[in-house]
Amino acid sequence: MTAETMTSTALPGDATIHPGWVRICHWINALAILVMIGSGWQIYNASPLFDFEFPRRIALGDWLGGALMWHFAAMWLLVVNGIVYVTLGIVTGRFRRKLLPIYPAQVFADVKAALTVKLSHDDLSHYNAVQKLLYVGIILTGMVIVASGLAIWKPVQFQEITAFFGGYDTARYVHFAAMTAIVAFLVVHVALALIVPKSLRAMVTGR
């Protein structure tokens, strides 16, 4: 698919909701993030920050060494795919069109509508204010988890990033908090996709 056709499929009037590059990036990201979270839980268990551990059967890698291999392999998938996604999102104008602007009053109104089950999902190509806020938030969280990950992985070579997060130990908490936010997002995101199945279909077929 050429850049031109990818852009044209996103033009108004076209039935396509998600152009090809969005769908490809979405599913690569889904795979990468599941591997990162699963292996991350195993790595966490080697030296827990809090008074709990993740059940071993839902953690990936069997032991610390295996989990680290998964984590530092899937990171390339996550980061390269993330860079492609964010670049195309900005260059094609999709982020600006779909995600901006976000007005607080609109967010409150849509939260209220959602809680009273009055929020419409008739037009999947249009995001409501809550969706916009969540999607912008998860992209920013993705940037935080990558940056805090770099801070932990390379506290000497990238010590400026580590210092930005308040030092090595604090960066670990930031990395964990970002993971928690992503998991919370995933719970809501997957639940809503199952409640509105046509949104899941749109992310697979584009329509």
Partner: protein
């Protein structure tokens, strides 16, 4: 090499009996476990094509690729952050794949650091000779691969100075260390020549205690803890990657910070 040779100054009775305690079963393919995550992967990829052997091969290749990336990121002039005395973690944790009472006891009187490989002078070094080397000091953060970290204070000789002193070929690729309990470690030459890479003989200005690696620890603040061997009894400058205790089981070879 030198497997049968008795290491001078080592109480062989205290050598590790149960080294496998904290390791995964070596007979078991152990990179893929995690049923729920695997299930999710199978669901996402829509197939069960991931078999453990091929996954392990791919993961090992990516790990070697990451070694090369880290070698590129490594800078000989970029120093690990240093800290004031007040930041030192007290007590500094003991850490090994065995309990503290299993740590090797090295007899200082008969100890000799063996030198081999691509060096001009292979004369073994006594502890007195090593202690007479010019002393440098550092307060740096020890980062364990497990995630925890601790700030400690080490004094000793610069490894780069020592390598020059023994006429080491610093164009060689690796420096290999062997420890009293059988632990081994290979590091890249650029890291060996880093100004903060130290042959530590003291911890917090006192003779290195047994728990922290008496008589010598190789302190490398630009590498993870498992690349900082303790109880070092032999050193070899070589172009052959001889691996290491943890690296051979799957920890990343470069282990850079």
């Amino acid at each position: 090499m030198r497997k049968a040779k008795k290491i001078p100054g080592v109480d062989s009775e205290l050598l590790i009996k149960d080294a496998a305690k904290l390791m995964p079963d070596p007979l078991r393919r152990s990179f893929l476990r995690g049923a729920a995550s695997l299930g999710a992967l199978a669901f996402l990829t829509g197939c069960d094509l991931i078999d453990e052997d091929s996954a392990e091969t791919v993961l090992s290749k990516v790990s070697r690729f990451n070694d090369r990336v880290q070698a590129l990121l490594f800078s000989q002039t970029k120093l690990a952050p240093t800290y004031p005395e007040s930041a030192i973690t007290r007590p500094f944790p003991f850490n090994a794949y065995y309990d503290e009472d299993q740590a090797p006891t090295v007899d200082p009187a008969s100890y000799k650091l063996e030198i081999s490989g691509l060096v001009d002078n292979k004369k073994p070094w006594t502890l007195a000779e090593l202690h007479a080397l010019p002393e440098v000091s550092q307060i740096t953060r020890h980062c364990c691969v497990e995630g925890w970290s601790a700030i400690g204070s080490w004094q000793g000789a610069m490894l780069s100075d020592f390598l020059k002193r023994i006429g080491a070929d610093t164009r060689a690729k690796y420096v290999w260390f062997k420890c009293a309990e059988g632990y081994t470690n290979t590091i890249d030459m650029p890291s060996a020549l880093h100004p903060q890479t130290q042959m530590a003989f003291k911890y917090d200005h006192k003779l290195l205690p047994r728990a922290y690696g008496f008589p010598m620890k190789i302190r490398i603040p630009t590498k993870l803890g498992y690349k900082n061997p303790k109880y070092v009894v032999a050193m070899e400058v070589t172009n052959t990657d001889k691996g290491g205790y943890w690296e051979d089981q799957g920890y990343n070879w470069f282990g850079g910070l």
